[in-house]
């Protein structure tokens, strides 16, 4: 059964006074309005969230939101897949409609993080690592530093290529009113910022963010009755890779990206050459390269050339992260994958405003951990 997306929303990302409850219901209400669906029509509700218990002492967020939105007695479930919780929510929502279990499924992702210190938030995220890694004080940013050094040394890539990813995504974020930073940065600023995990500096990392995003899924048949403006989920798949990062055969290959994108392409009957726009999980600048290579857009060790050539700019061959990416839009863990879906939906239905590019086929790649689990989604504009 064809599964369509008929509405989307996101709250302003950034440092918010609102707690998880308010963030989720804000995006949920706006999505109901955008899709022109009443709460009582919703049959399944999925809430993507990594760690509201650890961040805020708030558990059971799916039931909380079901009640707050008045979608009772809809089936409600929380989806936790660390940083890829949002992508996993897209997969769950797709499954719920494709299986026939639900005709109207609302997905809301959110996280409230900024009230913690950077160290505390980093520790919560680092708790996904194996005890043999955790006890050494390894963090996700340090995995990025280890991988970036290996990539630059092995493929003879200039340090500037990483800074270009940051500069591009900040530039794109200027046109996104929901982004945490709507501010351009210069190459000098990126290259001179403080070292966080050598050779990576402050501007190679996404910020800590509060925010929420939502999408409405239904059958293609029903979508046609409701609106002309919808997109179709034509491919979606997830895959895992080793929890222990150093156990991977090749530190520069993200197996979960390779496998999930391969399956998503197969399902959609498409390949990397068919993409018009993509949202990649640039939690760290180096991840944009690893994903461009993982989804087959670039050969191994060459994605940095795309950054240097401008091929991934908004007016380039394949615009990447038109939303500003996690880098400038922000990264509220459970919301990020949903927000990627929101961006490609808006691009496909022509609602991306000043960020609009010409696109009929779009891909979103949502990475959990340091590539430990990955969801790739392909969406196409309605014919």
């Amino acid at each position: 059964m064809g599964v369509a997306v008929i509405g989307a929303s996101m709250t302003k990302f950034g440092q918010r006074d609102a707690w998880i409850r308010e963030l989720l219901s804000q995006a949920g209400e706006e999505c109901l309005d955008d899709a022109d669906v009443t709460p009582k029509e919703v049959e399944h509700l999925y809430v993507s969230n990594m760690a509201s218990g650890e961040f805020e002492g708030q558990t059971g967020v799916m039931n909380m939101l079901a009640h707050d939105l008045g979608v009772l007695p809809a089936y409600a479930e929380r989806v936790d897949q660390t940083s890829s919780s949002g992508g996993a929510g897209i997969y769950e929502a797709w499954q719920s409609v494709a299986s026939g279990a639900s005709d109207m499924t609302l997905l809301v992702g959110g996280e409230k993080m900024t009230h913690k210190t950077t160290g505390e938030a980093t520790d919560i995220i680092a708790s996904i690592t194996h005890p043999e890694e955790y006890k050494h004080g390894v963090t996700l940013p340090s995995f990025a530093g280890l991988t970036a050094r290996h990539y630059l040394e092995r493929f003879d890539a200039p340090r500037e290529s990483l800074a270009r990813v940051a500069v591009k995504n900040h530039k794109n974020g200027v046109d996104n009113p929901k982004a945490q930073f709507q501010k351009e940065i210069t190459m000098e600023k990126a290259l001179d910022s403080p070292i966080i995990a050598d050779p990576l500096r402050l501007y190679d990392f996404c910020p800590i963010t509060d925010g929420s995003a939502a999408m409405m899924f239904t059958t293609e048949e029903r979508a046609k009755e409701i609106t002309d403006e919808y997109a179709v989920v034509s491919g979606v798949a997830g895959a895992t890779d080793t929890q222990v990062v150093h156990e991977r055969d090749d530190p520069t290959v993200m197996g979960g990206v390779v496998e999930s994108s391969k399956q998503a392409y197969e399902m959609a009957g498409l390949g990397p050459d068919d993409l018009d726009v993509a949202e990649l999980h640039d939690m760290f600048t180096i991840l944009e390269f690893l994903q461009l290579e993982g989804i087959g857009v670039a050969d191994q060790g060459t994605a940095w050339e795309m950054a240097m050539d401008g091929a991934t700019e908004k007016d380039g061959e394949l615009p990447i992260n038109t939303s500003g990416g996690l880098k400038s839009k922000g990264h509220p863990l459970g919301a990020s994958g949903v927000a990627q879906g929101v961006e490609i939906y808006e691009q496909l239905v022509g609602e991306a405003g000043p960020r609009q590019v010409e696109a009929d086929t779009a891909l979103a790649c949502n990475v959990g951990g340091f590539g430990n689990c990955v969801i790739t989604t392909i969406m196409e504009a309605a014919e």
Partner: protein, 122 residues
Amino acid sequence: MTLEAGECPNGHVSYPTHPRCPECGEPQEETHDLSGQTAEVVTWTKSTATPPGVRQPNTLAIVEFDVDGEAVRALGQVTTEDVETGDEVEPVHVEELRDPEVGLKSENPESQEWGGYRWDPV
């Protein structure tokens, strides 16, 4: 406290050990002690933004051991900030790699071991 790699009946070796081999799913029944061996630095980083209870800065490296001709990697803290890719290192034991009484796991410090090996360039 050892630095132990696991091996399955099909000869796949991993560090750390797992109940089942990550490559083939067979139980890992054999172990190799890596603590008396040297290794080569594959990559390293110096992390300046460290979580509570972790030294700052925290220099970390992924190193590669040779176990009967098979490359086995491990991650760990480095004893010095003065390290380069390709350096030869030897494991040195440390009682506590980070403070178990601080951070997210401090409510249950006994949930894991905190001692282990740092890499010391030779």
